[in-house]
Symmetry: C2
Subunit: 345 residues, 2 copies
Amino acid sequence: MKKPEGATAGRVTIRHVAADAEVSVAAVSKVLREAYGVSDTMRTKVRLSMAKLGYRPHTAARGMRGQTFTFGLIFPDIRNPFFADLLHGIHSELEPTQYQALLGTSQSAETIEPALVDSMIDRQMDGLIIVGAIDQEQLSQISRRKPLVTIGNHDPKTREYDTVNNDDRAAGSLAVRHLIENGYRKITMLSLLAGSTIIWERESGYRDEMIRHGLGSFVNVVAGSQARPDVQTTARRLLEGPDRPDAIFCWTDFIAMQVIGAATELGLRVPEDVAIVGHDNIQDCDFGQNSLTSIDQSGELLGREAARLLISRIRGRVDAKHFVVTPRIVLRGSSRFRPSTDVVS
Amino acid sequence: MKKPEGATAGRVTIRHVAADAEVSVAAVSKVLREAYGVSDTMRTKVRLSMAKLGYRPHTAARGMRGQTFTFGLIFPDIRNPFFADLLHGIHSELEPTQYQALLGTSQSAETIEPALVDSMIDRQMDGLIIVGAIDQEQLSQISRRKPLVTIGNHDPKTREYDTVNNDDRAAGSLAVRHLIENGYRKITMLSLLAGSTIIWERESGYRDEMIRHGLGSFVNVVAGSQARPDVQTTARRLLEGPDRPDAIFCWTDFIAMQVIGAATELGLRVPEDVAIVGHDNIQDCDFGQNSLTSIDQSGELLGREAARLLISRIRGRVDAKHFVVTPRIVLRGSSRFRPSTDVVS
DNA sequence: CTGAAAGCGCTTACAG
DNA sequence: CTGAAAGCGCTTACAG
């Protein structure tokens, strides 16, 4: 009585249902899977017995032969609040289905651990959604083993898996255009070292837009790590340097917040002395006293779409889909005013 | 070739390992489980073959008879950033083990859906960690089916499951004591409607400490929902009312941030006109321009401890453990100054 | 349309 | 210490 109960103690199985409905075990299985070739009468009988006995399918047993109805989610890091939006989107898409998501996160924000992928495959996930930086070769290998959808990995040519992305190039342009319209010129981009395709896209969007406006000589991409102390150092160097930018476009809000913090500590006013634009439009952007202009890429939408694609892929689709969502900019206090310019003009 | 591969295509099983090591299937299973009664020679042989063949245990198959090595995590809502801390703690504790966590979240922040619990049980989770409000009767039922640890549910008398908690009573006291020391008197608590044990504890900590300092007549607990519009309404009513409190202790940072936002919009200065203290000490407390005094309950520590308890419970412990962590207060700008008092004294 | 039987990859008594 | 065999709860050809 004190012993842990066996996994199957008292469990109602399809065998019980079959007996109760006076049909074969195979018939029950077919009803369960909504498979072809069951008469209406039989289906009704079986459904009735299932309800009556409170039958619940045993996922592990199903997983032995078929599907586990479980998706593996691989996130690089849960602490970036943007991922909460993604997760929310995935969950809401899955909610009406029988699928559920298993989330695994790396301890490091920089890479995806192969061990995590293996562990998901061991657990017979029906499919995988991988978020973040991981090399194409690895993805290609994974896709041969499991249906795969990536988020935040631009690879529009691949035919092996689906991709879901923000139009990151447009995001870079959007940030620059907004800043220019508000009179900023010396616009620096704070980017990520050891970046991924999304970073490169954002960088080139930034660069192209600067050049388009004749500001090629101000193009300056400073790349650092995501570690908090590093960000502080980089931000301070940038803000205290002889040639302080008048605006900084940060590759993610998380970093932008820290840059604002550093600027404030240095006695600089945002946006009067330096404007800041972030990316992701996380909830914190207008939380408390924060007011950060940011590019919204709708994590929720990206998550929903990824879940949708994975389901359709599991259902048999084999051609690759590449979903891109167009970002929009959300204007807030961190970039709104440009007094010096206003005064001049 | 275009068909989805069977779950077991080309898989290396214990049968292959057994053949390669020239031992029985049962022997391989024993080595795998580090079970009793295998000679060193045999263990070595088997391990060698496992490595050589790249054997990986099939979780679903193990789940049919024994453990799945997977924990089910049930969170009320992923969007409160405090949960990221919990998750992080759980993950870091599990990392060196063979256990993995499956996270399920409710769409509603208020309650745990029973369907979620069922789904976890169907998936043969070895144990469950449930975070947040859920009634004791339901918990008691669940604990009869699965090893269970709760976080954020005070029930020190139960013998059926483990609990991991912040000392929420101390938290309430701590907030009040700090505010009083800084000269605040009219301290209101913003609490949660349809609360849980943690809320009640915080409320009584607040109340007791107020009374202890002879401020019983200022005791005022205002309870609202977590929905954003509601919070705005409640905050505004409180701040615009005839009898504005000079300090507000909010049951969670998430709410505190919104109260600060509302105060700022109303032209009130924080902390000069009204001090704010939150609870959870989430990362956002000193993110960007935020500077929120908050009670730190170390989500990471709570998460780690919950994971540790669940493992030991699965390993056979049957007596209930109740872990309580003592909170500390982290002082920041939102409650630091009390000019009017300073001037008077 | 319906069902008997084999089998998925493990674990667990049980016998040697 | 070691292994043969039954069985966990399903699904999947296959035969009727």
